[in-house]
């Protein structure tokens, strides 16, 4: 008898929390260290999520545990580690974007966005 290899479930990981979504989005372009992630997620185009170091590393810890991100192994300082999105993380991010896109289409169809950019 062998232990069954658990396959990560993309749909089971959805919906993502705002913090996880923003971190994945920040790491989708390139590997980053903690502060670079924190800075990018706070920008409107990065999700506009204000998070401090505690929230960031708590989220990263759980994301590492669920295989969404991984450490690259490169450090420019003992205390500054870099993270990148995994293949599974990229699939989850894509699925979340698709889910949001569908919701956005519905919102647009219902006229929710009318006047939102004024």
């Amino acid at each position: 008898m062998t232990k069954a290899q658990k396959q990560p479930d993309v749909r089971g990981s959805l919906p993502l929390t705002a913090a996880v979504f923003s971190i994945l989005l920040a790491l989708a372009g390139s590997e980053k260290h903690g502060y670079a992630i924190m800075k990018e997620v706070s920008l409107p185009e990065g999700g506009g999520v204000a998070m401090g170091p505690g929230t960031l590393y708590g989220s990263l810890d759980r994301m590492l545990g669920s295989g969404l991100v991984e450490e690259t192994g490169t450090t420019d300082d003992e205390r500054r580690r870099y993270y990148r999105v995994t293949g599974f993380g990229r699939k989850v991010l894509a699925a979340e974007v698709a889910r949001l896109r569908a919701a956005l289409a519905t919102a647009r169809h219902k006229g929710v966005l009318e006047g939102a950019h004024s």
Partner: protein, 261 residues
Amino acid sequence: MKGLSPLLFSFYKRALLLYPARLRQEYGQQILQTFRDARDDRKNGTAGFWLEMYKDLLKSSCMEQMHMLREHVMKQPMFFYALTLGLILTLLGGTATLTLQQMLRREANQPQAEMANFYASEIASGVAPDESIPPGYVDLERNLEPFVVFYNEQGKPEASTGYIDQSIPILPPGVVDYIRSHGSDTFTWEPRTAVRIAVVAQRVTGSHAGIVLAGRSLRLVQRDENILYRIAFFGWLILVVLLIAGAALLNRAQRMRPVVT
């Protein structure tokens, strides 16, 4: 804010203790480095920056502790179930003990309630207290028998079968006033240290106005209460040991169960 910066940073560093140990060991240095990067980027930090950082620290440390607790419970669910069961059984046992204790205490008021009622009616009908109350001698320190005392309106004892050091015990003035205004009272009286008496007192009106007090030593009830407390405590102790042992065994059995593909 610049002058306070090292102090606030040092405090922040110490406050990392609020996070679960594993997270602190794993990410403590990175959290501090990210913090330094953010602080340097904002030219030593404004008041808003520090506020934001401390707010995040408090919020995220609470969240992480909750996550850690949840993780712990998920890893060892048996202990969680045992703890819940233990709490429920402790509550039920505590309620049962308290109910039994109350029943014991209420039983201690018999036959004083009937006695007080009987003598109060008799004296109110015009019988003199020293005629109504039969002669007798109950030593409150030694005897367990019930006794009766009649106090006049001023609280002065006029007839009694109960004595302490060969004299009739005097009711505190506050108690006399209370019974005078409320008509009756049931209480535990300690006329001397370690001498506790279950008392039922009733006001008497008419030509012999005053208070009839019937009492009985609580020694037997206290002995029964002590037995009850001991049974409850040892029962609870055995329950806790059994629950811990049961949870440990089930937890072990669960961990040893082979994984079937």
